[in-house]
């Protein structure tokens, strides 16, 4: 061939000449890259996002003082600095909330459980607590502003009441009503410092909401056991087991969807490339008639396809990251960031689809008889 018809120039002309056809191919390859990127990004971040959703169930690790005799006695107090040690061992992403309990007497002599805790932390950890109004965090002592469980409120009858513990009476006022449908409904919650000042009882339980997947939770458990040797540290079985199950099932579902959708998109690319060759039969026939080898024509088409696949990869990656971001916003209410390590996978997938899809049209090209095609011109 003449210098004027070098391969790059041919390629450039060929792509520019039939703009609508080039555009259709580019769109097909962009879509295939975008779908792969979005699904792979989702798949890669799924673990983290789903485990994050499971934090809605609250604490997954409980620390109590060791119950040596194993029978029905009230749990003993934790070591003095247990809270600080647990916070350090659990790491900055975990939330540690102390609870202290006492059984107080109302004025008519019936028993009621009062609990002291860090109300701000409880609010952040137990999102299912339905509270009409949270007490002020900074409060002057008298009367103590408390959170009253809905059943306790009904039993007490009034918003302002006195409670007695160990002969010491404290005045309290209900700031808000708490409803959980569980044991909390029968209790009264007050800020830990006010509780300790009144009863002298220190925390007996730490509820810990450890972040991350099963392995990370096990690591937190191990660290806690080492840091607090004289306590009973255990995972809430109920939560940890079901969580792993649900996450792994969702991952498998996503993987099967990914394969199915990739296959569909591959057919789309195949159809588009076939159409492209069919429309350009005559161009290829002319090239062959002018002396281009079968190889060269095939190469031209292949390079053209790969160039489009690469362009599609770039557009598709950006588009796919955008789609994953939007899905993260809509569905998980958090941000899903681009994942760089999936780029090779997406590139490989897109090139593979493009080359496989080009193989069938190439067979059509090979069968072309220039003479038949050009006859009559």
């Amino acid at each position: 061939m003449k210098a004027g018809l070098s391969l790059p120039l041919l390629l450039q002309r060929s792509l520019a000449h039939r703009r609508s056809r080039t555009l259709a191919e580019l769109i097909a390859l962009t879509v295939s890259a975008a779908v792969a990127t979005a699904l792979l990004t989702l798949y890669a971040s799924l673990d983290l996002k789903l485990h994050h959703q499971f934090r809605a169930f609250g604490a997954n690790i409980i620390v109590t003082s060791q119950n040596k005799n194993g029978t029905n006695t009230a749990p003993a107090a934790l070591p003095q600095n247990a809270l600080a040690i647990a916070r350090q061992a659990a790491g900055p992403e975990s939330r540690v909330v102390p609870f202290a309990y006492a059984v107080a007497q109302t004025q008519d002599g019936s028993s009621i459980v009062v609990a002291g805790t860090d109300l701000a932390d409880v609010r952040a950890m137990n999102s299912w607590w339905q509270v009409s109004h949270w007490p002020e965090l900074q409060q002057s002592a008298d009367p103590i502003q408390v959170l009253t469980g809905v059943r306790a409120e009904k039993a007490l009858g009034t918003a302002a009441f006195d409670l007695t513990y160990n002969g010491r009476t404290a005045q309290m006022e209900t700031a808000g009503t708490l409803r959980t449908g569980d044991a909390e409904d029968s209790r009264i919650y007050l800020p830990l410092d006010a509780f300790e000042a009144w009863t002298g009882v220190s925390p007996t339980t730490l509820e810990i909401q450890a972040a991350g997947n099963g392995d990370q939770i096990q690591a937190v458990l191990a660290r806690l056991r080492q840091a607090l040797p004289d306590t009973d540290v255990h995972a809430v079985h109920q939560l940890v087991e079901a969580e792993a199950n649900v996450v792994s099932r969702t991952r498998s579902l996503m993987l099967s969807s990914l394969l199915l959708i990739s296959l569909t998109v591959a057919v789309c690319v195949l159809a588009t490339l076939t159409a492209s060759v069919l429309e350009r039969r005559r161009d290829f026939a002319v090239m062959k008639a002018l002396g281009a080898t079968q190889h060269r024509v095939g190469l031209l088409f292949l390079i053209e396809t790969i160039a489009l696949a690469l362009a599609g990869l770039i557009c598709g990656y950006i588009l796919g990251c955008g789609i994953a971001y939007l899905i993260g916003k809509w569905n998980f209410h958090t941000t899903i960031f681009p994942v760089w390590r999936i780029v090779p996978q997406v590139a490989l997938l897109n090139l593979l689809v493009a080359v496989l899809a080009a193989a069938i049209p190439l067979r059509i090209l090979r069968r072309l008889e220039p003479a038949t095609l050009l006859r009559g011109e």
Binding site: I112, S127, R179, G181, R249, M254, S257, I261, T272
Partner: protein
């Protein structure tokens, strides 16, 4: 005539239709499978999440306050009121009866246990372990073991018929040196330790005894303290939080007929007078969040499948028509009007789309079933509501995808196209 043309076209141009067929088939398969999975994932995940335990608790309306610290209730055993065990069957008669997966009554009490080491008062709870409930033809096995799948038993659960078998919490067993097969005196009755249970919570420090035995020791035949119910529910939305008694009749009907945890609790209260039924918010709310996220995700993925299938079908249709330009030109040269040609092609494409769509629906349903079997261990049944959606989508996309090419082919000069015959 048209029919015969379409028939001949199918019989004689098999290769040329191959790509279009594959695309339609695959597109319909993908759409059906993804829609079927999207529609059933909520149900499947709901069942997975029931591993979290009960989401509704029922207790007597006149009950006194629980005095519960560290999972152990220290309220005097005589205080408070009871529900009737015989009434529990009614929970299986509410509007959403089929969503009620499990009913587990509990009756806590304190018992005196005599071992070699002496006498000791220990907390005990009466449960159904594997209780059979019957209503007409149907029967269900319900109880605490199914409600708490994370409870691990060493040995066996106390048998249904033999009243003097018990299970012991692992901490209590360790402290009292109890082993499987031991016989101990509880409330002056010899009982047989059938198993040792490890739960990871306060239950580890209690005796787990058959409900009938607990009722007998407490002196309240047929009494239960509270009932835990595990139900398949719909995630809570704005309507679910409304008070049904303040809604308009129409909205109230919608509220009543949606399987919210709140409406199931409301229906239980209706059937069992003098009770309170409440959603256990920790479980119900958490499940709601997880469910809506996962089904949201699967619907979005199904949407992606829909989009991909649409593109694939449209692209292959374009290709199919490009291949057949000469045919169109020949017909035009022989005097066919554009209307006849359009009718022929569209009839052909519609037939292809319906055939491919039907086959794709079958394949997609089978595929969804396989995926369901693999992932959840239970298949996904054929969902007939997906069929019209799949067919409609495939037909519309096929027609829309081929229309521009057919139009373009008809506008070409027949003479020019025919000269190119290959």
């Amino acid at each position: 005539m048209l029919l015969r043309l379409v028939m001949e076209s199918f019989l004689r141009q098999r290769r040329r239709k191959l790509l279009a067929c594959v695309a339609i088939l695959l597109g319909a398969t993908a759409v059906t499978a993804m829609l079927a999975i999207g529609a059933s994932v909520g149900d499947k995940m709901n069942r997975e999440l029931s591993a979290y335990g009960a989401n509704i608790v029922v207790y007597p309306a006149a009950d006194t306050l629980d005095v519960q610290v560290g999972g152990v209730n220290i309220r005097p055993a005589t205080a408070g009121s009871y529900l009737k065990e015989s009434d529990l069957m009614k929970i299986k008669n509410i509007f959403w009866r089929n969503n009620v997966e499990n009913i587990s009554p509990e009756l806590p009490l304190t018992v005196t246990m005599k071992t070699a080491g002496g006498e000791q008062k220990v907390p005990a709870t009466g449960y159904w372990f594997h209780h059979t409930l019957r209503s007409g033809q149907d029967s269900w096995t319900m109880g605490a073991t199914a409600l708490h799948p994370w409870w691990k038993i060493e040995g066996a659960w106390p048998g249904n018929g033999s009243r003097n078998e018990i299970a012991v919490g692992s901490d209590l067993a360790r402290a009292m040196h109890l082993h499987i097969g031991d016989t101990v005196q509880v409330e002056n009755t010899p009982v047989h330790v059938a198993g040792i249970v490890s739960t990871g919570d306060a239950t580890d420090r209690t005796l787990l005894i058959p409900l009938a035995l607990a009722q007998q020791w407490l002196g309240h035949p047929g009494a239960v303290r509270r009932v835990y119910v595990s139900a398949l529910t719909k995630p809570e939305d704005a309507l679910a939080r409304k008070d049904p008694d303040k809604l308009s009749p129409k909205l109230r009907d919608r509220w009543y007929c949606s399987p919210y945890a709140n409406s199931i609790a409301y229906q239980i209260e209706e059937t069992l007078p003098h009770t309170r039924a409440e959603q256990i918010r920790r479980i119900a709310q958490g499940e709601g969040i997880i469910l809506s996220r996962i089904s949201g995700l699967m619907w979005l993925v199904a949407l992606a499948a829909l989009f991909a299938a649409g593109l694939a079908v449209a692209a292959s249709m374009t290709t199919a028509i490009v291949e057949r330009r000469q045919e169109i030109s020949l017909m035009r040269a022989l005097g066919a009007t554009r209307g006849v040609i359009a009718a022929l092609f569209f009839a052909e494409i519609t037939a292809l789309a319906i055939g491919g769509g039907l086959l794709g629906y079958l394949l997609g349903s089978l595929l969804a079933g396989r995926i369901g079997q693999q992932v959840f261990g239970s298949g996904i049944a054929f969902n007939p509501t997906i069929l019209p959606a799949t067919l409609l989508l495939v037909v519309i996309v096929s027609l829309a995808g081929s229309a521009p090419s057919v139009w373009q082919a008809m506008r070409m000069e027949p003479a020019t196209v025919l000269r190119e015959e290959a």
